[in-house]
């Protein structure tokens, strides 16, 4: 209780409760962004994975042939999809299980530039949910590699 009171007292002197730590360069996308969770103020929780290196690993590679993108474009999209999945894993997992939601729609838009076939892609996530998340502790890179595997036989969902 005492801790709560002190915290409340201090927090009230701060017009914004965005207790964001660290320096975010304007040009970056803020990876490695640290947050203090208000559930447990003593623990700094890293909102995404481990490091930017982790995000950059090429676990999710759709060849330019199937995606219909230029190689540069594909690489760029793949990176965005990786970061998105890492940061929003819980929300994405829930949406994929339910087969609907803003996070899964947004994720679909990152790997499929064709709006017409996106609903089918979202449906595909729903149908393959247990392959994408085989265990309780599936991480985003594992989900993305299973997704790459299962999607290779469905190029029509990627463009």
């Amino acid at each position: 209780m005492k801790k709560r009171l002190t915290l409340a007292l201090v927090a009230s002197l701060v017009p914004s409760l965005a207790l964001a730590h660290g320096n975010h360069p304007m040009a970056g996308c803020g990876l490695g962004y640290l947050l203090i969770s208000h559930e447990d103020n003593e623990r700094i929780t890293q909102i995404i994975g481990v490091t930017t290196n982790h995000i950059g690993s090429q676990t999710f590679a759709i060849s330019s042939g199937t995606s219909g993108c230029t190689e540069d474009g594909a690489v760029k999209l793949v990176r965005e999809a990786e970061v998105f999945a890492a940061v929003n894993l819980e929300s994405l997992r829930r949406d994929m299980a339910a087969g609907q939601g803003e996070f899964v729609d947004t994720f679909a838009s990152l790997i499929n530039s064709n709006a017409a076939t996106r609903p089918q892609l979202v449906q595909f996530f729903h149908q393959h949910y247990s392959e994408l998340f085989p265990s309780a502790s599936t991480e985003s890179d594992e989900m993305l590699s299973s997704l790459t595997r299962t999607l290779t036989s469905h190029p029509e969902l990627l463009g």
């Binding site: 409340a8 701060v14 409760l17 660290g22 975010h24 970061v83 947004t106 729903h126």
Partner: protein
Amino acid sequence: MKRFTFLLSWLIFCVPAWGVESYLDSLQQAAQSQQLADDPAWLRLLHYRRNLFGLYESDIDDKEFFLSPRGRRDPRDELKTTLAAFFEPTPVDPQSQSAGCRYPARYAWLKERIRFDLQKLPEPVCPRFDAWRQHLQAGGVTMVFASYYMNNPSSMYGHTFLRLNGIKSAAKPPLLNYTVNFAADANTRNGLVFALYGLTGQYRGRFSTMPYYMKVQEYNNLESRDLWEYRLNLSDKAVQQFVRHAWEMGQTSIAYYFLNRNCSYQLLPMLEVAEPTLNLTRRFIFKAIPMDTLRAVLEQPNLVAGITLRPSHVSQMLARRARLRREELPLVESLAVNAGTATMVMVTGLPPERQAMVLDSAYDLFRYRHGFTFDQAPVVKDQESRLLRLRNNVALSTTSMTVQESKGFNDAIPPDQGHRTGRVGLSYGVTTKSHFEELSIRPAAHDQDDASLGYIPGSQLHMFNFKIRYDKDRKTGYLQEFSLIDLKSYSPWDRWMHHPAWQVGTGLQVAQDLAKDPENSLHYDAHGGSGIAFHTPLSRESMAYALAVADVGVGAPFRDYYRFGGGGTAGLWFDLFTVWRMHIDATYLNYPLGDPMGSVRLSFLSAIPLGHWGQWRVQLSRQNDYKEVLNQVLVYW
């Protein structure tokens, strides 16, 4: 011979330079004759304001931001130096930028106003800036207001940041848009140091960009705060100038002052650069509360094009719970704790659309209890996995309504509709001994009896609340109260959300229970308490509460100069005809240490709104033998 070579080199190197000089001269003259240094657009590009002596001074105290050493205080010299810098050769190192690339907004504005001859002053080539701008693809700007979170009155100040919306031709889902956020680089976790440094401008504030989904995770999920999106009506020209200026500001730091030069304030000069006809910053001198900066934006004619709510996790959870049938609640609750075989059988017995609703709510409650942090215990992860597999088994055709489509949020009232954060009051009071007049000034922000619209119902956030009284019979003036801070958070006990009611406050106040003259009863007080509050059916926001309280007073009025003790406070409020607030409160405090005189306080308050701008209160109170009737007119500003 040597002399001749020297002369020759002088001729070769300086002749073209002489041509440049003359074009620079003509540009500088043009700027002077057009009085560009006094142009509001220029003054805003550099965040100049007039200081106490009427002289120009920039809010930005980072020397790197100015090209002239006198730049912070001399708009004219900064303009002259900026023009000269455009003529400097492009640096060889691709990471360092030429002046035109480092200051694209200044360049664009000066180029347009003086009409640069691109033959004489070639357009700068800016690969870094171009790549960045390309990636942002900004076509519009939205101001996002992060509302409060439950049980924390200090979050009632809110937070604002900007979101760059995609261009129409390549519309991205909103989650993928980039945000522009201003925050202090706080390197301490010591709260007191944090507060002290922040109040005195010891931290550096910086702008950052990051995808909106990170902000959504941070506010909607981690902190469970509603996000209100105010789409701004800016021309494409303004949006492009905003992006250029954001590039300039991203490489600059500004002294961060919690009260008036904070996260919310610093967005306003950015918008004024984008659209120099806007007038947003002028009123914010001593304090810039995010909610007030939002109102400044709303007061500009035609600036806000539309408002959208992105409900927090808690708001979504409550909205989805409202759609459940009473008999489904226990099932949801047991699923949230343990999705074992027994509960599974019960779920699969329901029709598919009810299954979807029950499982969605169970997941909501599960998430609410365990939070959104990544490092969850294996047991928790297993539970999540079981719940989601059950949800995945529900046929896809029976999708449950998404929250945004449900009715709950259509009539949600935007936070800007709430009362203003400042309040001034004129009162007349009668006591058993005399009559008095009172002036009260409250810079921020809300108490339990102000209309709760836009604030957390049942909460109080008072800072620097100030009251002076003048006793008319005894012709004496005195300080009645000066509180540093006074917080209350009474959130009703909910079936799913169990927050304690609590209060904490400290400051100077008069101990009227001492039976001394008020001018001799001023002391320093600190108190805190914890208890429970619950909703009563008397009216929509009616609440009853009971708290245990500890109190310490220090000062000359007390025997031994202090008192320390505790007791309890309990009360009830409800609204007649939805607006007429009645509030009854009883407090008993006993002081075993120091001055032993205990205190019994009773009060009854009636508050009636006076339009949107004020409130009329009548308060009857007594503290031991002291009795008082106070008649107050309060005006929000």
